[in-house]
Symmetry: C2
Amino acid sequence: MDQVTIFNEYVRRKGLKNTSQRMTILETFLGSKLHFSTEDLYFRLRKNHPKIGYATVHRTLKLFAECGIARELDFGDGQARFEALNADQHHDHLVCTNCGLIVEFIEPKIEELQEQVAAQYDFKIERHRHELYGLCSKCAKLIDG
Amino acid sequence: MDQVTIFNEYVRRKGLKNTSQRMTILETFLGSKLHFSTEDLYFRLRKNHPKIGYATVHRTLKLFAECGIARELDFGDGQARFEALNADQHHDHLVCTNCGLIVEFIEPKIEELQEQVAAQYDFKIERHRHELYGLCSKCAKLIDG
DNA sequence: CTCAATGCAAACTATTTGCATTCGA
DNA sequence: TCGAATGCAAATAGTTTGCATTGAG
């Protein structure tokens, strides 16, 4: 089941409404592999849809997260970001502190060790955050020489 | 070298000044194992030191992080937190999403796998964030029955 | 028709900053 | 003495909300 279908079914099930703004935002959101902040997406949408308000973009992204087709991220720069989720395996992120490049990584062994840690402390894990911050290869060359 | 000494040397080296407020804040900060937000520490200090301002507490905590005796944390609840660092091994956190309990965990195997991931993507890691969010054993019993 | 969604502006919250005054070295 | 630190208040920035109006079902 694709993300548009998931969203439509969520809207119907909750008695919400499927407006043209939501469809526009969803298309643009899914049409890029980027990790959008509300501001990013708002300005991108402005070009072709100058009527859509910032609050609508923000509320819609929250709604995407709520229905499971998006995940809210926080890379500590003061802006929430959202990424589209598909059925793929869970991934975490490498973030370049110089150029902002974001790379996704998958490491099942870490996921497994996390489970063991949680079990050891008798925690029932709901979600986690795992981000590695540093310099990507290009920036490392530029800066460290 | 203990944390007070590290701080004093940092202050001297940078040509800063060692005020009574900074000493008071440092003592209170080190005297508890908690993970303080600026607000937490400010209110705790108010009891015995009502003259110390919020901005001073905040600037001082930032200074602690800068000189390496504290680490700034962000558990996604909209408040920055600070924890005292000693020479112990690096640790990460389990956070109870119900009662706010924070437990520290050490897992060298995860640290090692992180290094491998970074190497694989040619990143030079400076720091990382790794937090497991869920229910502690007490809250799991209360909520899930 | 009814009630959810929108768009705007205003409110909110944690954080940061400007500045006159204080105080440590 | 002199510049860093303080304390207050005001500014900032991202996010959230109130409300009159619009529009989907």
